[in-house]
């Protein structure tokens, strides 16, 4: 064991008070310093923490940003989200690979630079994007990628790649990022001006019960996508037995095409922290956790400084606002690159220093959450809304929006439109009005709510965005009429195959089966019975999966079959005479043809037979 490894591991463990529940912090730090969490490091971490080695290994093997194998000092992660790929991410990836002389997943021979792909990094409005260590590079193209690769080879310093800073806090000295906010429409709730402490002071002048009553009166529902009534959730947590309760903010914005939390974290973090503090007061919590996705590490220093500012102003810490007994502070928990951690029980597992496995429910987090304590988990935007409810009044909030859904929604719009970016709009806007606003007159299909939401066509453009009709956690992906619907669905299914945690079979296997049959159809070997098969399989996954990921991962297929059936039917062929169409003879014999140097006498027989019918 090298001296350096031992020092780094011991430092990381000491910094986390040798607390096994802080394993995420420890392995993240070791990974950052050593470029890997080697088997030796795992042994040492386990012995330092007094836990089993397998507990460490299961965490390291789970998260995409952790690696048991050595990685380069510089890791390039090219976003391969559907939108990024439509914008040319594949060519960018090829350019990186070519300029570095390596393939995806490999490290340069000098061990300095590793090239990988990663799902949506929350930059769909400025795609294609890539992460280089924690630095975000946006609006890439192949020539920029080549240039970046050369610069990295020469200087080895990713920070030097940041040339033009973005707008707003992206240019803050603690952020210094090229990311742009792209706020095209501000609204009265999230992006209105905010004076730190104004909402909390009002909350503290009320009893916790009154605060929850106001939250209920505002009719606010969770902004993450599921839309659970926030006041009810808080009520459950307040009523749950236990004296140490927890408020968790879910900033693991992983749903492809969603990037509104990125902008809120950049520009309105104080409002969000204020909402968390109000929640702490309302449910009687002493601990707040902001679970920040690994892709947003570049925002951490800014967020920490805002927390410090709030502590200095007496808005966090002991006896907040002069209220004796109201002690509440917030820590930031970094994620490790796992989409499933956006699911609240998986997120809690991750906060506890474990793999991001979802938990069985009941008990619900509000009863037994983080370390068994009653916990409220809400989205970034939800906390912002709550702070505003307290500041402006529940009645004011309730009259915004549509009849069934109060308030505004911050939407992240990306894809084929003239003005991709962030829009804060009142609930109840029709899709058609939104498309006009963003400059997407040519839209042929819109993915509402990300891959786990639904893909709708022009027939649905008069529908409204709200929880009673088209629900969304913020992701709106626009596709023009020339886009291949099945290709889009295929991209989403591939994403879910990658991100399934693998715990339950309906999700782990179901997504693979969806992909296999979709590929058969795309390859032109689909038969009419396949659509029924896909629908049946999707229904089983919905019914039998353990968490929201599996329950919604069939949606890209199910909703495209529902709204774009002709697209599928055009690719189907008549049933064959007993041949299994998934068997691809030409592919099966290709290797032997290459070795023998001549074609099989049967080559092409499969197709001829197919069309002869």
């Amino acid at each position: 064991m090298s001296e350096a490894l031992s020092t780094v591991v011991k430092e990381a463990c000491t910094a986390a008070d040798r607390d096994p529940t802080r394993l995420m912090d420890i392995v993240n730090q070791v990974q950052r310093k050593l470029g890997q969490v080697s088997p030796t490091a795992m042994d040492l971490i386990a012995s330092e923490l007094g836990c089993q080695r397998v507990e460490v290994e299961s965490v390291v093997s789970f998260y995409a940003f952790l690696s048991a194998e050595p990685q380069g000092k510089i890791v390039i992660r090219v976003c391969n989200d559907v939108i990024d790929r439509l914008e040319g991410a594949d060519a960018v990836l090829d350019a990186f690979a070519d300029a570095l002389g390596i393939r995806v997943g490999e490290t340069t021979p000098d061990g300095r630079i590793t090239l990988m792909t990663t799902p949506c990094v929350g930059m769909s409005d400025q795609a294609p994007a890539a992460l280089i260590n924690s630095h975000v590079l946006v609006d890439l193209d192949p020539s920029k990628a080549r240039h970046i690769a050369l610069q990295l080879k020469a200087s080895g310093d990713p920070h030097r790649l940041v040339t033009k800073l973005g707008d707003g806090n992206n240019a803050h000295e603690l952020v210094q990022s090229m990311v742009h906010n792209n706020i095209h429409q501000t609204g009265p709730v999230v992006f209105a001006e905010f004076a730190m402490g104004s909402a909390l002071r009002k909350a503290l002048s009320m009893t916790p019960q009154e605060v929850i009553r106001d939250v209920k009166t505002s009719r606010i529902r969770g902004r993450g996508g599921a839309g659970f009534p926030t006041g009810m959730k808080w009520d459950f947590a307040r009523a749950a037995p236990g004296d140490r309760k927890v408020v968790i903010c879910n900033a693991d914005e992983g749903e492809p095409g969603t990037f509104k939390d990125r902008v809120i974290l950049t520009e309105r973090a104080s409002l969000m922290f204020e909402g968390m503090t109000i929640a702490g007061y309302a449910i009687g919590a002493d601990l707040g956790i902001l679970y920040l996705r690994a892709e947003y590490l570049y925002l951490r220093a800014l967020l920490e400084s805002i927390l410090d500012e709030r502590r200095a102003a007496g808005l966090l810490g002991k006896g907040i606002g002069g209220k004796a007994g109201f002690d509440f502070d917030i820590r930031i928990q970094m994620g490790g690159g796992a989409y499933v951690c956006g699911e609240e029980t998986a997120l809690i597992s991750s906060c506890e220093g474990k793999r991001g496995d979802p938990k069985n429910r009941p008990p619900f987090p509000a009863q037994k959450g983080y370390l068994g304590r009653p916990s409220v988990v809400n989205n970034v935007e939800t906390f912002c809304c709550v702070a505003r409810v307290l500041e402006q009044g529940a009645g004011w909030f309730a009259q915004l929006g549509s009849k069934g859904t109060s308030g505004t929604k911050v939407l992240s719009v990306s894809g084929d439109c003239k003005r991709p970016g962030v829009y804060e709009l009142e609930f109840g806007i029709t899709l058609a009005a939104l498309l006009k606003l963003v400059g997407a007159e040519d839209a042929g299909a819109v993915q509402v709510g990300g891959p786990s939401g639904q893909l709708v066509g022009p027939a649905s453009f008069e529908r409204t965005i709200c929880y009673d009709d088209l629900a969304t956690g913020g992701s709106i992906m626009v596709f023009n009429r020339s886009r291949d619907i099945l290709g889009i669905a295929r991209g989403f299914v591939e994403f879910f195959c990658e991100e399934s945690c693998g715990y339950c079979t309906p999700c782990r296997v179901g997504n693979e089966l969806l992909k296999e049959r979709l590929d058969t159809i795309i390859a032109g070997r689909g038969e009419p019975s396949d659509l029924a098969y896909l629908e049946e399989l999707g229904a089983i996954m919905k019914l039998a999966s353990r968490c929201g990921l599996g329950q919604t991962s069939a949606n890209p297929v199910l909703t495209t079959i529902k709204h774009f059936r002709p697209e599928y039917e055009a690719r189907l062929r008549a049933p064959q005479r007993g041949e299994q169409r998934r068997f691809d003879f030409n592919a099966a014999v290709a290797g032997a043809e290459r070795i023998a140097g001549h074609q099989s006498v049967q080559h092409g027989a499969h197709e001829e037979h197919g069309t002869a019918e």
């Binding site: 005479r577 007993g578 041949e579 299994q580 998934r582 068997f583 003879f585 592919a587 099966a588 014999v589 290709a590 290797g591 032997a592 043809e593 070795i595 023998a596 140097g597 001549h598 099989s600 006498v601 049967q602 027989a605 037979h609």
Partner: protein, 181 residues
């Protein structure tokens, strides 16, 4: 009325299942009263002469010729039966499936300890069937109606199955014909 026809073939198998067919012994005389053999190694008829009621398949699909034969069976037979382990699952030949084809051929023709091949050429005459990337069970290539387990299935199993199918009765084999330990 002419007798129903039965065809048989051995693809990537060892002919053991055909031996088991012959193991019905003198019942073969009863069988030819019931049926007429069409394409089969038993009578050496090479091509189908007409529509067959039943096709018995031995062996998996390992090369392009097997594929061609299997397709012809599906086209010409009403009922296809995978007979034995290789037809059902690929069997022993499928042990090569995890090994890339190139490596298999190199081991067999270039590098193996007993190989004498001074020209170092992997046989590539156009007359030699080309191997597929792996050995496929029959049902992954065409639709199969019945599977008879066993290596080989016993003569009684094959006999009972044929008799039931030919007389239009359900194939309900007794436990003694289905247990293999």
């Amino acid at each position: 009325m002419s007798k129903p026809k039965v065809a048989t073939t051995s693809m990537c198998g060892c002919f053991g299942c055909h031996m088991s067919i012959l193991d019905i012994d003198d019942r073969i005389l009863k069988l030819v009263e019931l049926i007429e053999f069409d394409k089969s190694p038993i009578n050496d008829i090479k091509s189908f002469t007409g529509r067959c009621a039943i096709g018995l398949l031995e062996g998996g699909v390992a090369n392009d010729e097997n594929y061609h034969v299997l397709k012809a069976f599906r086209e010409n037979c009403d009922i296809l039966i995978s007979v034995g382990e290789c037809a059902k699952n690929g069997g022993v030949p499928a042990l090569r499936n995890p090994i890339p084809l190139q490596e298999c051929l190199e081991e067999a023709y270039l590098r193996g300890p007993t190989v004498y091949n001074p020209l170092q050429v992997i046989p590539n005459d156009v007359e030699i069937p080309l191997l597929l990337d792996k050995v496929y069970p029959c049902h992954e290539v065409v639709k199969i109606d019945y599977h008879l387990a066993g290596c080989p299935p016993s003569a009684d199993t094959i006999w009972e199955t044929l008799v039931a199918l030919l007389s239009g009765k359900p194939v309900a084999l007794p436990y003694s014909l289905l247990k293999y330990d």
